[in-house]
């Protein structure tokens, strides 16, 4: 115990003497949590719309007005020919082209059907997809309006209709920040845990101090615990800082209990620290460790369910995400923060992460050999 205490003392001294580590630990969460959620907006606004109106009727004008009034679209240009509009897409001035054919109004009234044409610029896939979906909804809406306006004159019985109203559970305003912030918090914790641990241990290898440590009768588990505990504590501090920022800047406080979040985070950090330890046992220089953990981090972040929903990934990719500890914590964070899930609800994830912690640390300890 005495040895461990002195190892910890030494470790903390070193951490607090390194201004760059301190800066990373305390500035990173604050800056990332303030900048990222503000910038990473899921809603598509300012979609550039180019309209080619061959009809120039009251109906076509009403439709265009309705679309631009929705707030999602910016009317970039009104052209007379489809060719002109296509050129706007080529010049990247337009994301979406709406073509209203000749006699749109006449056909709609006389024949009860009329077509429109939408062309999407698919360079930015998300923008194009969402834009097309928005515009379709608006046109359907408009369609309903016309029907109810024209029906009384047609003499036909009113058609049955299904009306839809929405309720956004757990996030009534569908505020994307509410699910981004907890997710980013998870990423921060992962980076602090895995990167810093890996680099810290590899640095001892690089400087050669590990050599000096290895000839001492110090026990393997003491040395490893001496490395893990400081970063475990730092991780929890970073998370606390993150929650302070979430509360102060975004007014987000968990609907569930902090206790279940911290309990999960405590185990999660063990798993992530184990990962860092594992990376360090396979690398000999800080550069190698950086590159390896950067590679792993990229996969973890992009396949963690924060930026793209896991359920929309192909099946093989979903299997990969099952090996990604980040995805479990993001899940848990959202469950507890937004939905107010209790400890009982997050038990499955809890056990999985405990498994991760055991496997990663076990592997790392097995691979950490005192001698070559």
């Amino acid at each position: 115990m005495r040895t461990l205490r002195f190892l910890l003392q030494k470790e903390f001294r070193q951490i607090f003497r390194d201004p760059s580590i301190l800066r990373i630990i305390f500035m990173m969460p604050i800056i990332q949590l303030i900048i990222l959620p503000m910038a990473a907006d899921y809603e598509m606004k300012n979609i550039n719309l180019v309209v080619t109106d061959h009809d120039h009727s009251v109906y076509s004008r009403q439709l265009i007005n309705k679309i631009t009034a929705s707030g999602y679209f910016k009317l970039a240009a009104v052209n007379n020919s489809y060719q002109q509009s296509l050129r706007d897409i080529e010049a990247d001035k337009a994301d979406l082209v709406l073509e209203i054919p000749v006699a749109f109004e006449k056909k709609l009234i006389r024949e009860n059907t009329a077509g429109t044409f939408i062309a999407v610029n698919a360079i930015n896939g998300t923008k194009g997809n969402l834009g097309a979906a928005y515009i379709r909804t608006i046109i359907q809406d408009y369609n309903q309006e016309i029907r109810s306006k024209l029906l009384p004159f047609s003499g036909m019985p009113p058609q049955p209709q299904i009306a839809i109203t929405y309720a956004n559970w757990f996030n009534p305003q569908m505020n994307y920040k509410f699910f981004m912030v907890p997710g980013i918090l998870v990423l921060l914790l992962t980076m602090v845990g895995a990167n810093l641990t890996a680099i810290n241990i590899v640095r001892e290898k690089e400087i050669g101090t590990i050599e000096q440590i290895n000839v001492t009768p110090i026990r393997k588990h003491h040395f490893i615990l001496g490395k893990l505990i400081p970063f475990w504590i730092l991780g929890l501090i970073v998370m606390t800082l993150g929650f302070v920022v979430a509360r102060v800047v975004y007014g987000i406080s968990p609907a569930g209990s902090f206790l279940s979040i911290y309990a999960f985070a405590a185990v999660y950090l063990l798993a992530v620290l184990g990962l860092g330890l594992l990376v360090s046992t396979y690398s000999n220089t800080q550069q190698q460790a950086m590159l390896v953990s950067f590679f792993i981090m990229m996969i973890f972040v992009l396949m963690g369910g924060l930026y793209t929903s896991i359920s929309s990934m192909p099946e093989w990719a979903q299997w990969i995400t099952k090996l990604n500890p980040v995805s479990y914590f993001i899940d848990v964070m959202r469950m507890v923060v937004l939905k107010g899930s209790s400890m009982k609800d997050i038990l499955p994830q809890f056990f999985t992460i405990t498994g991760f912690a055991f496997v990663l640390n076990g592997w790392a300890v097995w691979n950490y050999r005192k001698r070559a």
Partner: protein, 300 residues
């Protein structure tokens, strides 16, 4: 126990099976308790590999070794408790202060600085004025003194010093060897490796190692007395052409630069012919370097 370190037939190879790099081949050594033993050889001779095997950091491919009676493989835990190791590269915590480093290394050996202060007193007093300075900010000589203190603080029975004087100025080197003499008086077995042959004369016994093989183990005096050929020191205005001239002179066994002179080793009974009126020639008694150069050329 008479022999503090016993090495028997130790071999070590690095690299792949196709292209092995032989670091040590069939090394055997006996080092007595309380001896100041020098391991002398050029860079890449295998000195560090041998040290790493003896300090339990590396496993030998073949052979066995004991340190203070403990097997370095089976009883590595016991070995770690009784050896002090100072690696060639400064490897203390640069971001901890002098005092913190010392206390840290004392603690992980379950020792205290106060208990063993008598061992390091003479050395530590020289760096004590800087005890609050971070180790990374010390000068080379002071780093080395601190490293020695840290290696000594748990009162080791055997002290391994891997090239402690490499990159240290001549005065500090001298001081360092004086310190080792003091430590020797305290009964610690000291094994020092060095690439500087002139340091051999300060050891009780030396082993000359080259390409992973031990060429000779003896006292410095015995090694010198083994040098029987006549030896001359020669100096002339054109040193390079003089060396060529010496190589071509019949009866010269070997000629090599030696400080501001060239040394020429003659066949027994043959004296150096006239080399020119500018040449300064004098007969000299061989020192340990001459012996090593001769041994190395023999085995090259």
């Amino acid at each position: 126990m008479n022999n503090s370190v016993i090495v028997q037939g130790v071999s070590k190879q690095y690299g792949s099976k196709k292209q092995p790099v032989v670091a040590l081949s069939d090394i055997s050594l006996d080092i007595a308790t309380g001896e100041l033993f020098g391991l002398i050889g050029p860079d890449g001779a295998g000195k560090t590999s041998l040290f790493r095997i003896l300090t339990t950091l590396l496993l030998a491919d073949k052979g066995s070794a004991t340190v203070a009676g403990y097997d370095v493989v089976k009883e590595y835990k016991a070995v770690r408790k009784i050896v002090g190791y100072m690696p060639g590269k400064f490897s203390l915590y640069q971001d901890l202060t002098v005092e913190e480093n010392l206390h840290f290394f004392a603690t992980i050996f379950h020792a205290s600085v106060a208990d063993n202060y008598h061992l390091i007193k003479d050395i530590y007093e020289q760096i004590a004025p800087f005890k609050d300075r971070r180790a990374g900010k010390l000068s080379g000589g002071m780093k080395q003194k601190l490293a020695l203190c840290c290696a000594l603080i748990h009162e080791p029975k055997v002290l391994f010093l891997d090239e402690p004087t490499t990159g240290v100025d001549a005065v500090s080197r001298n001081e360092f060897w004086d310190m080792l003499q003091l430590l020797k008086k305290k009964g610690i077995t000291i094994i020092v490796s060095t690439p500087y042959m002139d340091e051999a004369s300060r050891c009780d016994r030396v082993a000359l190692i080259q390409n992973g093989r031990i060429l000779q183990v003896n006292t410095p005096e015995a090694i010198i007395s083994g040098f029987t050929q006549p030896l001359y020191a020669v100096k002339a205005p054109g040193m390079l052409s003089l060396l060529k001239q010496l190589h071509n002179t019949p009866g010269v066994l070997a000629a090599y630069p030696f400080g501001e002179y060239h040394h020429a080793v003659m066949q027994p009974g043959v004296s150096l012919p006239f080399l020119g009126k500018d040449a300064e020639v004098k007969a000299v008694t061989p020192n340990i370097e001459d012996c090593f150069i001769q041994l190395m050329q023999h085995h090259a």
